[in-house]
């Protein structure tokens, strides 16, 4: 009697252990633990710090929304916000236009096509700090190669003050970011272009489409899903950019090029105000969330993509 009961209990446990749910949970455990340790904990800590007055070397105490109230009255913070939005907006649009243009060119039958495709990737492969240093020289107040060339050409008389003037500095860092970001957009869109069957272009040209019409009515609509993915990533990368600004201007002149990421770092680490730095970083979350939501809706399968296979 007892023997049978034990056996039955064991078999019940055995059934559970063999069920897909249990095995699924078991296999997910390591990944869940990993995420908890390395993703949720630091993020949670960051959010928590934003509600404290922690400084380096001193645990903070909970002060509610005081950090955020202070930031709301802080003109430097608002300048960083508007810089970040401007930086992201202008750089993303330029990256998209140039990236798409490059992708379209590389999709044609060119001699040395694979060589050009590899070369295009260089700005993306070079470490940001390295390319930022190169741009630092290009934008140097005295030795800038751009100023030198333009003076030689006789177009200007004095060197351009690239990084010393607020508006010049903003334009300069945007240009450097665009240069760095184009390869990602171009190569991703090129991959997208290659998924469009050649026969569609042939059918369209038989239907009487000019090359512009083929681009407008075939290429562009079929590329939209990939454009949505690529541009979401591009916006996220640009919005959270740090290295380029940190090397080129450190946020200067007079905070004119501070992005939220650089301001957060400056206040939090060199400035020692961990709580305030964390609050600035947390303030980026709504923007990032908005762009992720945008992509979530943008990425939803369009009606024409639903249904069976091709």
């Amino acid at each position: 009697m007892t023997m049978t009961q034990t056996a039955r209990r064991e078999s019940a446990f055995g059934t559970f252990a063999r069920s897909n749910t249990a095995i699924g949970a078991l296999f997910m455990l390591p990944a869940a633990a990993f995420l908890l340790c390395f993703l949720t904990y630091p993020l949670g800590l960051g959010v928590w710090l934003g509600f404290t007055d922690a400084k380096i070397g001193r645990d903070g105490i909970f002060i509610g929304l005081e950090n955020y109230q202070a930031l709301a009255r802080d003109s430097v913070f608002w300048m960083a916000v508007s810089n970040t939005v401007l930086y992201t907006f202008v750089a993303s649009i330029l990256k998209f236009i140039f990236g798409l243009w490059l992708a379209l060119i590389l999709n044609e039958h060119l001699p040395f096509k694979s060589f050009f495709r590899a070369v295009i990737l260089l700005p993306w492969v070079v470490p940001t700090v390295l390319s930022a240093l190169a741009f630092w020289w290009i934008y140097d107040a005295q030795f800038s190669i751009i100023s030198w060339s333009l003076i030689r050409l006789g177009w200007i008389d004095t060197p351009i003050n690239f990084l010393g003037d607020p508006n010049n500095a903003r334009a300069s860092v945007i240009a450097a970011n665009v240069w760095r970001g184009i390869p990602f957009v171009a190569i991703s869109l090129l991959a997208g272009l290659q998924t469009i069957p050649q026969s569609l272009h042939e059918a369209a040209s038989l239907d009487g489409a000019t090359s512009w019409q083929r681009f407008r009515f075939i290429t562009l609509p079929m590329l939209t899903p990939i454009i949505a993915v690529v541009m979401t990533f591009s916006v996220l990368f640009t919005f959270t950019d740090f290295q380029l600004i940190y090397v080129l201007t450190k946020g200067g002149p007079v905070n004119a090029t501070h992005l939220m990421a650089t301001l957060s770092f400056q206040r939090g680490i060199p400035g020692g105000q961990l709580g305030e730095g964390a609050a600035i970083a947390v303030a980026m979350i709504p923007f990032l969330l908005a762009s992720i939501l945008f992509s979530f809706f943008g990425l939803q399968r369009r009606k024409w993509q639903q249904g069976g296979q091709d």
Binding site: P197, S199, S205, L206, D207, G208, W304, D310
Partner: protein, 354 residues
């Protein structure tokens, strides 16, 4: 509608010639099928007619006008692709209306042309669907609808049925043929399937290795193949071909390399003494007592007919009989060959002698 002419058309990819001088004349309203094995250049030829491949030498004329230098959109032709090439982001109606929209036709005119085309093809209830939501056969119809709406000078079909299952293929075959009888638009159709070619074409062009082997009506090719290639390509099951020579003393006897005597209709004297190939269609034989002894190797009854592979003196011969045969593999049957329906080919050049 228009006639189409290929005059000594050539095409090379790099140094590799794929079309080696092709001459074809297609009359206004004709349904012509280019048929041949993979790689024979038939699709390339069609794409050259469409303007999707340029022409290395020679002339292509549509309606008497040389089109060598014209872009595809200026040739007024419509093409149905093997993979249909439907625009996946457009509904069936938009797919069919695309060419008219590009021309800037008013909405009323677009409706006036899309609706009847959709009716003809039974697409009316599907006009708001997207290509992905359609079955293979429906997509095929949309592709044809897109061509019909254009009302072009010439229809081009590039292996349009090869992505369909066998049953649907037979149905679509009839549908395309009916469509042509109704619209009477000049049609050039490419396929590797000789049954498709036989059943649909007014005129078949058999291509092989970049040249035209023979041009003619389906039964003409079947009854009078110009050479070994056409003879073996047209007809299913394929023609039996056996190597051998004529009997020097009797031109009505063919002796195979293995020493079996087969009957032939009176052969010309020129055939004497040469290495020949004996051609015999599977349906031109009957089972009869006292015939040539043949060992049954495989027997395949299909109900309406019986197909048998038999060994005659070491050569395999396929036969199709419109009767039920109760033979078993290994048994010896008597084979009676219809001598007047046999062919002789020159073994070296492949040309037909009888």
């Amino acid at each position: 509608m228009a006639s189409v002419e290929f005059a000594n058309v050539r095409k090379s990819f790099g140094t590799h010639p794929v079309i080696k001088g092709v001459d074809i004349e297609i009359a206004d309203g004709e349904f012509v099928i280019l048929v041949g094995p993979s790689g024979c250049g038939k699709s390339t030829l069609l794409r050259m007619l469409a303007g999707l491949e340029n022409i290395s030498a020679g002339e292509i004329r549509i309606g008497g006008q040389v089109v060598n230098g014209l872009a595809p959109k200026e040739r007024d032709i419509a093409m149905v692709f093997q993979n249909y090439a439907l625009y996946p982001h457009m509904t069936v109606a938009d797919n069919m209306a695309f060419s008219l929209k590009l021309k800037g036709a008013p909405k009323s005119e677009i409706d006036k042309r899309v609706k009847p085309a959709a009716e003809i093809l039974g697409l009316a209830p599907l006009l708001d669907r997207f290509p992905r939501q359609l079955s293979g056969g429906q997509r095929q119809r949309v592709a044809m609808g897109r061509a019909i709406v254009r009302d072009p000078q010439v229809f081009l079909f590039d292996e349009p049925l090869s992505n369909l299952d066998a049953k649907l293929r037979v149905a679509m075959r009839a549908e395309i043929k009916e469509l042509h009888q109704r619209l009477k638009t000049t049609t050039v159709y490419v396929t590797h399937d000789q049954i498709e070619a036989m059943t649909m074409a007014d005129k078949i062009v058999v291509m092989h290795d970049g040249i035209v082997e023979q041009i003619g009506a389906p039964l003409e090719l079947y009854d009078q193949p110009a050479n070994l290639f056409v003879a073996s390509f047209i007809g299913s099951p394929a023609m039996n071909m056996i190597k051998g020579k004529l009997d020097p003393s009797d031109t009505e006897k063919f002796i195979t390399d293995k020493g079996v005597v087969l009957p032939v209709a009176k052969a010309p004297d020129s055939a004497k003494g040469r290495a020949l190939i004996y051609g015999l269609r599977p349906e031109h034989m009957t089972i009869a007592n006292g015939g040539i002894p043949a060992e049954v190797v495989v027997i395949e009854p299909t109900g309406s007919e019986t197909q048998m592979i038999m060994r005659v003196g070491g050569d395999d011969i396929t036969g199709v009989f419109h009767q039920r045969i109760a033979a078993r593999p290994g048994e010896i049957v008597g084979l009676s060959i219809h001598a007047e329906a046999t062919y002789l080919f020159d073994a070296e050049t492949g040309t037909r002698l009888v």
